[in-house]
Every structure is written in structure tokens, then in C-alpha cells.
């Protein structure tokens, strides 16, 4: 017999891009905390992630989640060299804005704003999308992230040259590519397995 979705209508769902702390609710059944085994906890990487319905849903395939979580952490948090954290968050925000993932954009715009102290610029990116003028370096980062997010991608040598002219070296450009590409993974999961809920 076929399984069933668990989706219930969300009242007042977020309908604009925001830096507020909105939530997310799944449309299909996550594991309960009581069902989690050691293999599941290894897949979650951090025990605290067991509190999140999103991760308890993804942990149904713990092998994939474990690799993906470790990749996520390196792409965004390994900032000893390469692109500053804030600009990796900006790439994530730009990809999420372009794909239309209101939940992903809220989390990563908040982080971009926090690490840059440029909350209003980040809000302009949310309000106006890739047309927003955020200064050449950020404009180049946003344009590259959006070009890579298009399907098929339209990222080309002009984007590399523009990032290079804005002062990014090869490692930093590779960091932009990974930040934007990773959110083409994350956006699709967040958009298709559940939906955002209003800030509490």
C-alpha cells in the first residue's frame, strides 16, 4: 500500500524574502528521535541536528547525509584560507534568492548580514534580487552565483575575469563556485520536501 504525505496547510506562510528566523516543516514523515540509531547519529554528524525535523528526514539515508553534512561544513566554515565566510554566505543567499528558496535565503542572508554588518545591503539583495547594486565585489559574486545557478548554467570566462578583477584568486573563485553549487543542492531539498513556516 502506498505511503502518504503528512503535509498540513501552513497559516500565514512567509511570502517575501526575509532575514527573520522563520521555520520549516516537512511534507513527509521524518524519523522520530526515538528511532535514531548510532548509524543515524553518525549521519547527523552533530547530535544537536537530531532536534531538526529537516535533518531527521534526511537521515533516513544516513550515508548520503553524513557526506553532505561534512561537505557543507567545509564549504562554509573552513575559512583559514580562501574566501571570507561572509562572501560564501552571500553566494548561498544569491543562489537561494534566484531559485526562490525563501527558507534557505532567510538563514544565509542572516549569516551574511551578521558577518558583514551590512544588513541593509543584504536586504537589498533579498528585495531586488541580482539587480541590486551592492558594490562591484559583491555584484561580481552575486552575478557569478546566479550564472552558475541557471539551468543549464551560464557561468563563463567573463564571470571569472570579473571576480579576478574584483581581487579574488583561484582558490577564492573556487570557493564561490562551491558555495553557489552547494545551494543548488540545498535549495532543491528545502523547496521540495517541505515548506517555510512563519517566525514565532
Amino acid at each position: 500500500m502506498a505511503e502518504n504525505i503528512i503535509a498540513v496547510p501552513v497559516q500565514n506562510p512567509p511570502a517575501v524574502f526575509t532575514q527573520e528566523e522563520i521555520g520549516w516543516t516537512p511534507w513527509i514523515e521524518p524519523l522520530s528521535e526515538g528511532e535514531l540509531t548510532e548509524r543515524h547519529y553518525a549521519g547527523l554528524v552533530e547530535e544537536a541536528r537530531a532536534k531538526s525535523a529537516y535533518f531527521r528526514l534526511l537521515v533516513r539515508d544516513p550515508e548520503v547525509l553524513e557526506a553532505r553534512t561534512k561537505l557543507d561544513k567545509d564549504v562554509f566554515y573552513n575559512t583559514r584560507t580562501g574566501l571570507p565566510r561572509v562572501e560564501r554566505e552571500l553566494a548561498a543567499t544569491a543562489a537561494s534568492r534566484f531559485n526562490g528558496c525563501i527558507y534557505c535565503a532567510s538563514v544565509h542572508s542572516r549569516l551574511a548580514a551578521h558577518h558583514s554588518r551590512r544588513k541593509q545591503d543584504v536586504q537589498r539583495l533579498l528585495d531586488d534580487g541580482s539587480e541590486a547594486d551592492l558594490g562591484e565585489r559583491w555584484n561580481a559574486l552575486v552575478a557569478a552565483s546566479v550564472a552558475l545557478t541557471a539551468t543549464p548554467p551560464v557561468f563563463d570566462n567573463s564571470h571569472v575575469e570579473r571576480l579576478s578583477a574584483a581581487g579574488l584568486d583561484e582558490l577564492e573563485i573556487a570557493d564561490v563556485i562551491h558555495g553557489a553549487a552547494f545551494f543548488n543542492w540545498a535549495n532543491r531539498l528545502m523547496l521540495s520536501l517541505g515548506e517555510p513556516t512563519p517566525a514565532q
Binding site: 550515508e63 541557471a150 543549464p152 583561484e170 573556487a174 540545498a186 531539498l189 521540495s192
Partner: protein, 205 residues
């Protein structure tokens, strides 16, 4: 983990040992390793569970084809050539990819001011011939893959119920969603690094 499996991103982006890009990737060993482990978890899983290896390769080939990325298509489709169906599955897949082409991301935003940015686009349905050749599970999987590749913001609970009705389980839907989304990530890293590699070669020349 199989030692004989080459690094897929290096392979498809043409990253040569000792090149500038090889040195760039070497500075992110964890990213390189976990990208590969994500690939292995999806295509050489310890147990194929609720999605067969053939289903995984069919969907990944379709996703690569929708990105018009022929090297990745051929890479994922290669194991399907060994089928004893005289190439029928591959021919079906190529025909469906041809019929499913689009430019994304498009779709609807939630009601409110963002509706001014709504971009219309088609909802793909597998052809009758394709449905017959692929069966209900794969037909539903390809329709879902098209939604996620080109217009993910149109996703809704009914799309997941359609997968359940075609025989997918909740865990199978998680694996399928990860696979589609992973390939969307992987082709972008490959495309981006390939552009960067050619730019660095020009700079050295």
C-alpha cells in the same frame, strides 16, 4: 570505499594532476573527499535500499541530460549500456531528455508581492511510450526530477504523493531527492571548475 573509483569531479572537469586546479582542489581536501563520498553513497551505497542502482543511474543520466552536460550524461548512463534490452532503455531516456529541455529556474512564488516575479514554464510529463518502457516508478521519478531541476519553487506535497502512489517509500523519496539535488550540485562544480581551469591556462600562456 573503492580505491579504484576515480575522483568524478576531477575526471569530468578535466583536472590534471599538478595543474593549477589540482593545487586549488588540494587546498580543500575535505571538500574533495566528501564530494566523492556523496557520489559513492548515492551510486555505490552499502545497501541500495529503496532505490535500485539502475533507477539511480537512469535518474542521474536524466538530470545530467537536462543540464545539457553530455560528459556527465554518458558517465551516468554507461552502466545502462550493459542492459540486455538492445539499448531500448537508453533510447527512451534520450528521447525523454530531448522532450524535457527547458531553461530554469522558473515557476511561481507564494502569493503576495513576489508574484510579480513569477515565471511561467511547462510541467513535464513522460510520454506514453516512455511510461511504458520505464514503468511507473521511473516515470514518476523523471517527472519529479524535471520539477526539481528546472522549477523547484513549484514543488508541492502532491508531487511527493505522486511518487508514493508510483511505489516509492518515504526513505526512497529522500534518496531520490538527494540524488537529483546532488547531481545539480555536481554538474555546477564541474562546469565552474572547467571554466576556471581554462581561464588559468590562458593566464599562464
Amino acid at each position: 570505499m573503492s580505491i579504484s573509483t576515480p575522483d568524478i569531479i576531477d575526471l569530468l572537469a578535466g583536472v590534471k594532476p599538478g595543474s593549477v586546479l589540482d593545487r586549488v582542489r588540494a587546498q580543500r581536501p575535505q571538500t574533495r573527499e566528501q564530494s566523492q563520498k556523496s557520489y559513492l553513497a548515492l551510486f555505490q551505497p552499502s545497501a541500495s535500499g529503496d532505490a535500485s542502482l539502475e533507477e539511480r543511474h537512469v535518474v542521474a543520466s536524466f538530470v545530467a541530460g537536462l543540464h545539457r552536460y553530455s560528459d556527465a550524461f554518458e558517465f551516468y548512463a554507461a552502466p545502462l549500456e550493459d542492459q540486455t534490452d538492445e539499448g531500448r532503455l537508453l533510447e527512451t531516456l534520450k528521447a525523454e531528455i530531448g522532450a524535457a529541455q527547458a531553461v530554469g529556474p522558473y515557476g511561481h512564488h507564494p502569493g503576495g508581492p513576489l508574484t510579480a516575479e513569477d515565471k511561467p514554464g511547462s510541467t513535464y510529463r513522460v510520454s506514453d511510450a516512455g511510461r511504458e518502457a520505464l514503468g511507473p516508478r521511473l516515470a514518476a521519478a523523471l517527472e519529479h526530477a524535471h520539477l526539481l531541476v528546472f522549477h523547484p519553487r513549484d514543488a508541492n506535497p502532491r508531487a511527493l504523493q505522486a511518487l508514493f502512489d508510483a511505489g516509492w517509500t518515504t526513505t526512497g523519496v529522500v534518496t531520490l531527492s538527494q540524488l537529483i539535488s546532488f547531481v545539480a550540485f555536481q554538474v555546477r562544480v564541474i562546469a565552474g571548475l572547467a571554466v576556471l581551469a581554462s581561464a588559468t591556462k590562458r593566464a599562464v600562456a
